[in-house]
């Protein structure tokens, strides 16, 4: 793909700008990106091109507007990326970032994807556990229902099933 600015050099910088949920893609060669002032000076080390993403995630970095009173992590303890850095570069540093920044991701994902929860493929390896946990939740709901209906015999057998499954999941 060629640079969208000069059309003569191959585009080496690709980024998506998201403003109010509207995504726009940009493709620039190094020199055009520099001319456009998209590169932030003094950051050509480790982050380099990803600094271009600064501003792409135009979401509330302070967490204002969220009514959650839960303490929010401002830094991923695993890789050291701060939330401010994340909102600037638009990239996570490691898989643990998803946990540390978890409280603030729903609004972001809502804007980018319109959704917040994965419903697709599950890896085989961790799939066993996830499937069993879903089954466990289903059994617990059913148990609740049986108790409400005073079907105690069925409830008792469900309780045994739940205990077995919980033991199995703990062993995984």
């Amino acid at each position: 793909m060629m640079c969208q600015e000069c059309g003569s050099k191959p585009a080496t910088l690709h980024f998506t700008k998201i403003v109010n949920g509207e995504k726009t893609e940009f493709h620039f060669c190094d020199s055009c990106a520099r001319e456009k002032g998209e590169l932030i000076p003094g950051t050509s080390n480790g982050f380099s091109i990803h600094n271009l993403l600064s501003g792409l995630l135009d979401f509330d970095p302070t967490g204002k507007g969220s009514t959650s009173s839960k303490p929010q992590h401002s830094r991923c303890e695993e890789c050291g990326l701060t939330y401010t850095q994340f909102s600037k570069i638009g990239r996570f540093g490691c898989s643990a970032c998803y946990q540390y920044f978890s409280d603030r991701l729903d609004p972001l994902f809502k804007r980018v994807h319109g959704n917040v929860v994965h419903v697709g493929k599950v890896p085989v390896r961790s799939g066993g556990k996830i499937k069993q946990q879903r089954e466990l939740e289903r059994l617990k709901r059913e148990l609740q229902l049986r108790i409400e209906r005073e079907e105690f015999e069925a409830a008792a057998s469900l309780r045994d099933k739940i205990r077995d499954l919980e033991r199995k999941i703990a062993d995984l």
């Binding site: 793909m1 060629m2 969208q4 059309g7 003569s8 191959p10 585009a11 080496t12 690709h14 998506t16 998201i18 995504k23 893609e25 493709h27 480790g46 982050f47 380099s48 091109i49 990803h50 995630l57 695993e78 890789c79 050291g80 990326l81 570069i89 638009g90 990239r91 996570f92 540093g93 490691c94 898989s95 998803y98 946990q99 991701l105 972001l108 994902f109 980018v112 994807h113 319109g114 959704n115 917040v116 929860v117 994965h118 419903v119 697709g120 493929k121 599950v122 890896p123 085989v124 390896r125 961790s126 996830i130 946990q133």
Partner: protein, 354 residues
């Protein structure tokens, strides 16, 4: 390696094969972004850490099931010169990002070049499968199979709520990017494309030109892909793309027939004029080459040009006339002017030999 077919042949083996709707859909591609749980993403990884990722991935190459799919070779980017990297980019086997930026970057390629797995690009793994014609589901099935093989030996970063965890928030969930490359000359000639493109983006798909952008796509080539990766299953994503692409194919076919009925002579003149220019011009810039090749391909598809030239001519010559390829073939660096001469020469000889 330097002079192997990988760097000198524009057409990968997979491109030669026949596929459904090949008069309009040139290729179907699926890409899966995957990461290892225990290592930071490539952006933050130290040289040592990305080296470890590379070694772990290399370990999977001995997997029996993987070897059952095709023969694979792992190429480290540091072993390639600039021109070779560029050729791989122009053949869509690696991204410009991997060619320019990656530490411990590598690509695992299948023998027919339909499978390319990038290592240490933006994500630890980017599994890509390419199919000729409109075979988006086939591409997904193969990519998913390869994904399973890698997952059986590597511990993926996966979260029950968020799905596959990726470096960029725009890929999280399925990590799936599915796309079809379509040749839509009749929709461009009849200007219907300007109404079509906004409609496509409204149903959650993205459109981009092959080497240009927006409606000024070079050679009337458009790539249509999904944008949403979270909250839709892979089947839903593919189904959505499939249905929309099917409609576009139908529109393009109708527009072609309409052109044939209403302005047959002008169409014949246009495609043969382009053929004549390609066959005889001495200087040819890349933009004109793409447009003329698009005309010729349309002429071949509609049986308006008397030639033995195969329909894949456009795919081949578009790749071949890119700067990296031209320079690789001539064995030296070329100025833009030299390239335009070399490009014209290459196209002339290719048309003559067929």
């Amino acid at each position: 390696m330097a002079n192997g077919p990988l760097f000198n042949r524009a057409l990968s083996d997979w491109m030669q094969s026949e596929g459904p709707d090949r008069d309009i859909v040139f290729s179907s591609r699926v890409r899966l972004a995957r990461n290892l749980r225990t290592q930071p993403f490539p952006m933050l990884a130290t040289n040592h850490q990305s080296g470890e990722v590379l070694e772990q991935v290399r370990g999977v190459m001995n997997n029996q099931q993987l070897q059952g799919i095709d023969r694979f070779q792992l190429i480290e980017l540091k072993d390639l010169n600039e021109l070779q990297k560029r050729v791989l980019v122009e053949k869509h086997l690696i991204s410009p990002n991997l060619a320019n930026e990656a530490r411990n970057g590598a690509v695992i390629l299948s023998e027919n070049e339909s499978i390319s797995i990038m290592v240490n690009e933006e994500d630890h793994l980017r599994i890509q499968c390419l199919y000729a014609g409109f075979q988006i589901r086939e591409a997904w099935e193969l990519a998913s199979r390869i994904d399973d093989i890698f997952e059986s030996q590597l511990e993926y970063a996966f979260d029950e709520k968020r799905g596959y965890l990726t470096s960029c928030p725009t890929n999280v969930g399925t990590g799936l990017r599915a796309s079809v490359m379509m040749h839509l000359p009749a929709l461009v000639i009849t200007k219907q494309i300007n109404r079509l493109l906004p409609a496509i983006t409204q149903v959650g798909l993205a459109v981009r030109g092959l080497y240009g952008e927006g409606s000024e796509a070079m050679g009337n080539l458009f790539q249509i892909s999904n944008q949403i990766t979270l909250g839709q299953s892979e089947e839903e994503i593919l189904d959505n793309l499939y249905r929309v692409a099917k409609q576009i194919i139908a529109h393009e076919r109708t527009a072609r027939q309409k052109l044939l009925q209403e302005s047959r002579d002008r169409l014949i003149d246009r495609v043969n004029r382009s053929y004549g220019i390609l066959a005889h011009a001495h200087i040819m810039d890349s933009k004109e080459a793409a447009q003329r090749l698009s005309d010729v391909r349309l002429g071949i598809d509609l049986g308006l040009i008397q030639t033995n030239t195969t329909p894949t001519i456009m795919n081949e010559l578009i790749v071949m006339s890119q700067p990296g390829f031209l320079q690789q073939l001539s064995g030296s660096k070329l100025s833009p002017e030299e390239r335009d001469v070399r490009r014209a020469e290459l196209i002339r000889s290719r048309l003559k030999s067929s």
